[in-house]
Amino acid sequence: MQSERQNNHIQQAVDGLQQVPDRFVFNSGETWSGLEQRLPGKKKKKTWYYAAAAILLVAGTVYLGFLSNKSKLIVNGGAIASAALQPEKKFAKPAFNQKNVHITVSASSLRVSEKHNTPTMAVHAAEVKHKNGLEIVPEAKALTTAEQIVVTNPTIEQASNEIKKIIPAIAATKPAPKKYKVIHLNELLQSAIVADQQNTLSKSELKKMMQYQNDEKEIVTPSENNSKQLFFFKIKPATTTNTISIVEN
């Protein structure tokens, strides 16, 4: 009887405790944080999301780097120049001033978009020069595509100036589409640099170089087309079948 009373007293006393007695320490927050990590409802999705995002980012960067490498133009068999470096140099002065320089432009080095790859383009360029009394090689007249443009000019600088004067007049009278004025002149000036280097090369070396350029199947498109390729993941191969002629001095 006494034992039962004793037991009841102890039981009630212990069960009635609502707080931790003085000498004991219970770190409730730490215990909960440990428990929270072990709960089954706690998922580790976020970690996977971050990992997937990082992988996608790296893959995207690599792909962009790959695309930008493709857009580089190989000039003169060795020196590499980016085609996108001078997108808006419309009527820049040529870098040389030599008389009777023959400029040969290979079509593979021309950055002609699909839109502009029409016969009127070459004819138009020829007409402009003819009006200003420039000497035009007959081969260039005969060409109706962007296969080859050969221009013989006694003073390129003079021609450039003449063109600068005429182009605004033409633009005023004839609302020419943008495709004529921007791309061709720019390319002509760029190719003039190539032609300048031709003087230092022999005929066989030039042939080899041109052959090398023709072998490259991929066409270098303008920067706006690069952006199209990026979004639609399409790379259009070169469809030009060009012939190259080298004119000696």
């Binding site: 102890i10 089954p40 409802g41």
Partner: protein, 183 residues
């Protein structure tokens, strides 16, 4: 919030409800575990394990009353503690087959406060303490204790007797000390 509603939300693994339930009963469950184990850290670990089992086992639990739910939680905690003690071989039971339950004459314990009783229990050796806790506080019979601890019924009784003696001794010592201090 009603306990029944809380249990329903915990069944749906709502983290807020789980935290709320934990906050409601964490101290109580810690006190249960600390009665069986040596240190606070061990007791905290058992609280963690016990609540984990509670949250997992809630799906199979059918609520009847609040008291039944608390008793269910306590049982889980006690089982966790006993399992831990078994792992560490903390039981050291002296086999006394012919142990007889003795009753102390003085009712000194009734004069003690809850905090003091709790502290005295935790000061006892593990073997005595376990039987004392199971018999006196949890209300198990000697037969049940014997099956739980895998000992004989006599051993359980003798362990309880020793536990009572130790408790009484410590109460008397504390009482005498307090009287001397008062003088």
């Amino acid at each position: 919030m009603e306990l029944l509603q809380l249990i329903r939300e915990c069944k749906q693994q709502g983290i807020t409800a789980q935290k709320y339930l934990y906050d409601l009963f964490a101290v109580q469950m810690f006190l249960v575990c600390r009665r069986y184990l040596k240190s606070d850290a061990e007791a905290e670990e058992m609280v963690q394990n016990g609540f984990l089992k509670i949250f997992k086992g809630l799906t199979g639990f059918s609520y009847t009353t609040d008291a039944a739910f608390v008793a269910w939680m306590k049982k889980i905690m006690i089982n966790e503690c006993l399992q831990e003690l078994r792992k560490k071989n903390s039981f050291f039971m002296v086999a006394e087959e012919n142990g007889v339950e003795t009753i102390s004459g003085d009712d000194v314990i009734s004069k003690l406060s809850a905090d003091e009783i709790y502290r005295l229990i935790t000061q006892m050796p593990i073997g005595y303490r376990t039987v004392f806790n199971l018999y006196v506080i949890e209300g198990y019979s000697h037969v049940e204790i014997a099956s739980i601890l895998n000992i004989s019924e006599g051993t359980s009784k003798s362990q309880l007797n020793r536990a009572r003696k130790i408790l009484q001794q410590s109460v008397t010592q504390n009482h005498l000390y307090a009287e001397r201090k008062a003088k």
